[in-house]
């Protein structure tokens, strides 16, 4: 079964304590939010990183999406705070 790579950035990365993890693909119909609920049970760091959903942003295969978006056929999910470049 194909996998899903999850990338973490900024304080999301710091709270989880790693910048990347690979999981079995949760299925095209699963939303990012549903996956977060599942991952939050994995460690206190995951729970802390995903506690405040209003401050969390996501990208599927390098495109911004809302947290209620189904993961579909994406191979890469990135989770991070609102961007602060420029």
């Amino acid at each position: 079964m194909a996998g899903l790579t999850i990338l973490y950035f900024a304080w999301v990365r710091e709270r989880i304590g790693r910048d990347e993890q690979r999981i079995d693909h949760p299925g095209a119909e699963t939303s990012i939010a549903a996956l977060l609920d599942r991952l939050a049970a994995e460690s206190p760091g995951h729970a802390a990183a995903f506690a405040d959903r209003a401050r969390l942003r996501a990208a599927l295969d390098q495109r911004f999406v809302l947290l209620d978006t189904p993961i579909g056929e994406a191979r890469e999910l990135a989770l991070f705070p609102p961007v602060t470049g420029g």
Binding site: W11, A59, Q62, P81, T84, G85, G86
Partner: protein, 151 residues
């Protein structure tokens, strides 16, 4: 003619004068630019910029393409640094060249406004007392970027 597009993301510093020269060499007669630097807000030693390389490239490419589709541009240069940058260091450069000054000025403002809200960079402060925090996104930045869609 397709505009001259230059996009560079990396830790290296850049020389704004050297970046402006090729834009000035284009036949348009109008060049605008913006340079963003690390501001000393009292006690700040440096900013650390983290980014998402694959997405940064895609996002900046899309923003530049939107600007080139909207204004008659002859050249666009976008440079964004990452890594640890001390107070006073250059972070970002946007340069635009056109035959029309309003196109050059507006495209330059559009590019920096959109870079701020759609390029995946995150800034962490490093303070002289050893503390540091992640910079919070400003709602007014979203408003500034959204303004370009409402016209």
């Amino acid at each position: 003619m397709a505009p001259r597009l230059v996009v560079r993301v990396g830790p290296e510093d850049f020389d704004p004068a050297a970046e402006l020269a090729p834009l000035e060499a284009l036949p348009g007669g109008a060049v605008a630019s913006f340079t963003g630097l690390v501001r000393d807000d009292g006690g700040l030693e440096a900013l650390h910029l983290e980014h998402y390389p694959a997405m940064t490239e895609r996002q900046i490419g899309e923003i530049v393409a939107r600007a080139a589709a909207r204004w008659p541009l002859l050249g666009v240069t976008v440079i964004h640094r990452h890594g640890t940058l001390p107070v006073g260091a250059r972070i970002v450069f946007v340069g635009t060249a056109s035959s029309h000054r309003t196109a050059a000025l507006e495209a330059c403002a559009f590019l920096i406004d959109w870079l701020k809200v759609s390029a995946p960079f995150w800034k962490r402060t490093l303070r002289r007392d050893g503390s540091g925090t992640w910079v919070e996104a400003a709602a007014e930045d979203d408003d500034r970027a959204a303004r370009w869609s409402g016209e």
